[in-house]
Symmetry: C2
Subunit: 513 residues, 2 copies
């Protein structure tokens, strides 16, 4: 008895791992010989433009996803519409397991950031995916898509908008389930699928969709497949996200563009005004100077601090790869910078034209797009208000629309501020059973220790799942960190698709928790 009682825990501990491994092997075997077909299908998927403000493009993506679901035997595949004019539908599907009492719902999004094709490298086009031998920065060369006889190199890069963010999420989720199915296995849990079409514009109608389909979307946890993995390439689980909101701020000058010789030094220059306004907001060591900007922050728990400390610092690898000599604030670590500190980033500035398009003028206006990242404790409206108050304190008359001529003549400094739709940060506890179960599943697919991030630097409106559905979200990123997500030349390391399928399939195969 004693012997048994000693052995039992060992068996219990080892058996699931072995089972998982055996399953993993089967699952892997079932997709490896289909990589050529999968890559071809993924290229087709990425070739459908998906700019966040183009409803027609997005509906084409939704239809393509529904077709992919049907081919894989996923049931009840359909769009979930929000009853809001102009809302982009989410895509839903499910695998109901007889007798299962627990449910995981897998999330990714199929919309993409805007593109400016002129800024993409020569030979690249955002919606004409191209294969390169490695990343452009490392001297990647264009290659043809492989025929059946050419082996696929996992280090190849697929270039195109959304190849990484976040069609890779949609595609690995669907093919993780497909790999399980094709290997003859079956999940023990109910699986649901939810693909959002409005993430890049700030998930405007996600709350409405969740509320409207509350019963359909019932689950024990949301598994979010989005964002980049650790720079080391090690697998990762993330338990929180920062919040986010954009602000567009335009400083006005004269109503008409003015010849800089005939009016320069006299007419107010809105570009110079904006320069001084922005300099007053953040010093050149990265410290935001706006009153109370760092208030409200909820510090990390003991477990979270411990997890953060265990993560190897990716900064040296990344810094070399990105080729810059010093971080914004060299005294602040990378992980600290992106997890515990609210930010005020300049996403872009525009005033008239520069370089060959420039004219010798005093511009009529200067615009900055600011990106405020929020951490746990920040409230999005409160954070916006701090910025607005600061602008007012600098002597600006602030509106959210064009001023009248009378206002222009009355106020020497005028700023138009228009806010995007934003949201707060979210963090799921790393100690709850579902968190522990997911950690175990992902670990089973990795030879190296996996990365456990209390919060990522990026943002998703994950607080909504808690708020509307009372369900905790956990994020499993699957794409390479150097994917140029949101910018030009977005790309995916091809091997991330296969690794992602393996990881997500392991989570889908979890027992109860």
């Amino acid at each position: 008895m004693k012997r048994i009682s000693i052995l039992l825990p060992i068996v219990l501990l080892v058996f699931p791992l072995l089972a998982q491994d055996a399953n993993s092997q089967k699952i892997n075997a079932s997709h490896v010989n289909r990589h050529h077909a999968l890559l071809a299908e993924y290229v087709q998927f990425c070739a459908i433009p998906n700019t966040w403000n183009d409803a027609e493009q997005l509906r084409q993506n939704a239809s393509f996803i529904i077709e992919m679901m049907k081919k894989r035997g996923i049931t009840n595949a359909r769009t979930l519409e929000a009853e809001v004019p102009g809302a982009i539908p989410a895509v839903y599907g499910e695998i109901l397991t007889p007798g299962a009492t627990q449910t995981l719902i897998f999330y990714a999004h199929y919309d993409g950031q805007p593109v400016n094709p002129a800024k993409w490298a020569e030979g690249l086009s955002p919606f004409k995916p191209q294969l390169l031998t490695t990343s452009l920065d490392k001297g990647g060369q264009f290659i043809d898509f492989p025929t059946a006889n050419t082996p696929i190199n996992n280090d190849w890069r697929l270039y195109g908008r959304a190849t990484a963010d976040d069609k890779a999420g949609v595609f690995t989720i669907l093919n993780a389930y497909d790999a399980i199915r094709q290997s003859g296995l079956a999940p023990k849990l109910n699986l649901k699928f939810f693909f959002e079409g409005e993430e890049e514009k700030g998930s405007t109608n996600l709350e409405a969709i969740l509320a409207q389909h509350k019963d359909l979307l019932k689950a024990d946890a949301w598994i979010i497949v989005d964002g980049p993995m650790h720079a080391s390439g090690r697998k990762q689980i993330t338990f929180g996200v920062r919040g986010d909101v954009n602000m567009n701020l335009t400083v006005l000058g004269a109503k008409r563009p003015l010849h800089s010789g005939n009016y320069g030094n006299w007419a107010p220059n809105p570009a110079l005004k904006l320069v001084h306004l922005l300099a007053s907001m953040k010093n050149n060591r990265g410290k935001v100077l706006i009153d109370g900007f760092y208030d409200d922050v909820v510090p990390l728990s003991k477990t979270e601090r411990k997890a953060l400390a265990a993560i190897p610092d990716p900064a040296p690898i990344m810094q070399k790869d990105l080729a810059f000599a010093a971080a914004e604030n060299p005294k602040r670590s990378f992980l600290e910078s992106i997890t515990t500190i609210p930010t005020l980033n300049i996403n872009g500035i525009e005033s008239a034209n520069v370089g060959r398009l420039a004219s010798n003028i005093i511009p009529t206006m200067a615009t900055v797009t600011l990106d405020l990242r929020l951490v746990k404790g920040n409230d999005v409206q409160r954070q916006i208000q701090k910025v607005v108050d600061h602008v007012k304190k600098q002597g600006y008359y602030v509106l959210d629309h064009e001023p009248t001529d009378e206002e222009r003549m009355q106020y020497p400094n005028i700023a138009i501020i228009r806010n995007g739709v934003g949201y707060n940060a979210q963090r799921t506890s790393m100690d709850v059973p579902i968190s522990q179960a997911v950690i175990k599943a992902v670990r089973s697919t990795s030879k190296e220790e996996i990365i456990l991030m209390p919060s990522t630097g990026g943002s998703l409106p994950l607080f909504l799942f808690e708020k509307v559905l009372n369900t905790p979200p956990i994020t499993i990123p699957v794409v390479n960190y150097d994917n140029n997500q949101h910018g030009e030349n977005e790309n995916l390391r091809v091997g991330c698709l296969w690794d992602g399928i393996e990881t997500i399939a392991a989570v889908m195969m979890m027992g109860g928790f």
Copy 2:
């Protein structure tokens, strides 16, 4: 005898004025009934695109001008080429008057500033000239071009690139001579015509053209028809110009655009760096903070100061029209700002995208185009060097080309600075006989006192005429001040064409000086 000797000066004084008036009447009569045809021809001229970097477009303009010259009996009409690859030719023509010993040469330029059609008002297109009832800002409405029976309203505006800057100069010069010819009169001087095709890019090859055709271009004065008149609409003569040079400055960040959530607060933000660099260059009261920036300035002479003081301040009218509450530095007068002070203007700033095109990224670079206006005494190379030295003093490693990865890793602050081709300021004395003769001729066409400007705020490479040909230039602007020259929605008050013809014709009809 005594009586005669008393009368004679009076006769001499009055007679030319009367003769001028009689001639003026004849000349005016000769063009007034051709306004419909002239307007139609001008629209054709402005419809030929003339962007400064498009050689093919510019040659089409040159051909059109030569045709206009031939139609008007102007002899020896031809291009003057510079023996430099890619140089844009000037257009030359002449009217040689038998027995004349003095020569005036009339200058305008036919190239235009770059256009960004997206920034023009709805319904306008830079090279599809359109007629409006008045300026857009004053509620101008689109109207059809007039048929022979519709009277032309002088307050109508013709919208299109170069309608004001400076095809109006070319057109009024040619038609001033044509009006003289068609009225049966003849000039007493030799008249020469010189139309430049490279003014907007900084007159890169003007020196070469002048040097190569030194004999052909021999004259007693250059009469420059370019730039806007006084805001009051009063006729004007300008005796000098500021110098000008552009600098493009790009601050670098990471090599790739980075997700602002995943890397923001850590990766250096070149837009924030540029903001601080620019703020260090010029305070928000318009004072340039660069060491020695205001050194070298040659103050105005007594006559120049007197002339400047006699000019009514156009600022109140303009400020209302342009709808702003305060000048860059409210303590500095408009005329002082634009004539006696070197400037550092921001023409434009660009870093990634803003507004609907913005992405949540940390940009890879931020660029500013600066416009340095020079006054008499400034040297263009010295002025540029002051800016470069300032950037270096702020801790920047300065190059004129892309850095290597090694340089990127070595220097925390990197700026790429590329300078345009610039030139120094020029001022012709108001006391010399030619200046006095031109003043008299222009006065004879104006009921109101005319404006005598020691220097305009704008720039032309007028120093070259003194340097290469030893000939003084004098400028007679003919277009409305509110013409949006160099910016979007450039336009010409139609009546300026007719007034300009009258003014230039009077100068062409001058006797000896």
